[in-house]
Symmetry: C2
Subunit: 347 residues, 2 copies
DNA sequence: TATTAGCACTCTCATCCATAGAGTGCTAAT
DNA sequence: ATTAGCACTCTATGGATGAGAGTGCTAATA
């Protein structure tokens, strides 16, 4: 466990701030001018040598100024940083953007990624409250004529999932009635996860009583169901990658862009909803492509409707205190908006 | 009107080919070795000087080899190039990718953009057959409970458009019946475009007889209708931008990326469906951002179901003859697949 | 014992050659 | 009309050089 003196702590803090703002290694002379105490540059140099021994700062070459190491950022985030109160203009932007009318949870969550990327000029991710805990509250099969039928699934949270299928023969409403009745009787009110599980065993057996050939229907039902139960992931500010990545390495930029299209890899990186706000720096992130960046993740809680996540990807040299303040505010506003939205469907 | 001698034409052709393949300016010595006739490099140099006077090739600096100018590519495309027969493996890839089962026109068209970008390693665009000429063949309002209703619109081409709305009070099927009957009686069979026009005048008046407060319904109907009638645009191979743009100019890359997200600007660039295959080179493209690139567009024709477009964006130094051959094949295969698909809904 | 002034040392960055290599245009000969 | 020969131009590469920024160390100081 590292403990720093008051002065060392101030020096580390100044180095982090200067480097984050200016982007250049920080030398002892410039530090003298900024620090509150009256000491010479030589003293600062001695202290810096100690911070370097502790692994908190590093040189880019033998005689350069210092920049914070991963451990340095870590210490800064854990022990020095105080979350900045969110800027009132930023708060207004958030509230205004979430204030509009939405017809879907996913619209709210997708828009959140965009707002957050706009406020931070970084890249952001949002994950909606998990659907697998939602309960099935309705299932419809609407014949559309022309060999088409639309399957619609509704959850108790007001989420609607639908899909159109092409079928060999047109169906009338009458033929579909027993199926819909079966669903109503047996499955409504169950968590989607349970329905999904039953789809493997019970349902096919029971359904055989109602339908001669249940396979076609099961395909349809299963497809809409798993679409509804799948996690959904939104990315905002892809273009911002150009602002904070290494401009001289187009290969890396391309890999990152490609990563942003792989929802599943990203979902692994962000991880499942956890506690509060978490900061992962550099190689603390499990994905090698991101080992030069930082990731701030936050879980938001919508009571019985589950938990979702928001995340910011940016450079390791990030204004952490502003970001953490912003995340806190966003977390609250988003949860509030979603509660509002859900309340509508709870009667 | 420029006319070239046989030999000049061969030289231009060789310069275009070499530069496209190697990416370096082409000098007289290397040309001597490739050209079928036995002449010295000095003769080639004299001919090259004449081609330069005609504005077909240029130097990158005073004593460099030559590269084709925009006019040079133009001449090559118009008078020299012969479309290459499509590679049989490429054809198989196309047929295989389009061979699967699709539930929507838009899926086919979106996938087309992906296949084409994969085959070319450039960026591609596809535009589906225009919807505004489709006819309305069905409209449904499905009450979902929980203050929600889904509006579904079906066209004679089997296109389905749907949207979920949040409404103040739950509706029963009975209340919706007169509205649906009205649509059935008055609007079915009309082109979407006409319906859209009537929505401004006739419909509100007539509907007033059926409903006390038609405004809410008109909003819903109008929203789904215009969503259905809007053009849809797909982009494939965004990542390929990294392969053929100037690696040293991240600003430009960023602008291009941003352009690819602006469906409307792009639609303007591609233009409305025209005749056959068209090649636009460099500043012949109306968008300034693309003045260093080439655009090949092709219109595909699905008979009475309208016309759509496919396009390839790549560097001016593109293997035009392969690309044009590929476009031709793709055009045919896509039209065939769509005709197949539509046939299903024509009974 | 903590601090500091002074100095030798290291590394980066920009600038300035020098040179090799590729290619051209021109001239005079064929 | 073609070509050999040559002077010339421009690029790309690889040192060499010097200014600037910053460090570590030593010896003196409070």
């Amino acid at each position: 466990m590292i403990t720093l003196t008051e002065r060392q702590s101030l020096i580390l803090k100044a180095i982090v701030r200067d480097y984050t703002e200016g982007g250049n290694p920080v030398g002892s002379k410039s530090l003298v001018q900024e620090l509150p105490m009256k000491v010479s540059s030589a003293t600062i140099r001695n202290e810096m040598a100690r911070l370097e021994d502790l692994g908190l700062i590093v040189k880019t070459h033998l005689s350069s100024g210092r920049i914070p190491s991963i451990r340095g950022y870590r210490y800064y985030v854990d022990h020095i940083l105080k979350p900045e109160k969110v800027d009132s203009r930023d708060l207004k932007v958030i509230q205004h953007s979430l204030g509009g009318e939405f017809h879907k949870i996913d619209e709210i969550v997708a828009q959140s990624a965009d707002i957050l990327s706009q406020l931070t000029s970084y890249t952001t991710f949002t994950l909606r409250p998990e659907l697998k805990d939602s309960r099935l509250s309705g299932f419809r099969l609407v014949p559309l004529g022309n060999h088409q039928v639309m399957a619609i699934l509704v959850t108790n949270n007001g989420d609607v999932e639908n899909q159109t299928f092409t079928i060999p023969n047109d169906l009338s409403g009458d033929e579909l009635e027993p199926v819909v009745r079966f669903i109503d009787d047996q499955l409504i009110g169950l968590p989607l996860q349970d329905v999904l599980r039953k789809l493997q065993h019970e349902i096919p057996l029971k359904l055989a009583k109602y339908l001669q050939d249940p396979d076609g229907f099961l395909d349809i039902f299963g497809s809409v169901l798993s679409k509804a139960a799948s996690e959904r992931f939104y990315v905002g500010g892809k273009l911002n990658l150009f602002n904070y990545t290494d401009q001289n390495d187009p290969k890396e930029l391309q890999s990152l862009y490609s990563l942003l299209d792989q929802t599943d890899s990203l979902a692994n990186v962000i991880g499942p909803p956890g506690q509060h706000i978490q900061v992962r720096i550099g190689n603390e992130i499990t994905n090698d492509l991101l080992k030069n960046y930082s990731l701030i993740t936050a879980t938001y809680d919508v009571d019985q409707h589950g938990k979702g996540m928001i995340a910011i990807l940016g450079p390791t040299a990030m204004p952490y205190s502003r970001m953490i303040g912003l995340m806190g505010a966003f977390q609250r506003e988003l949860a509030r908006k979603l509660l509002d939205y859900y309340r509508y469907f709870d009667e």
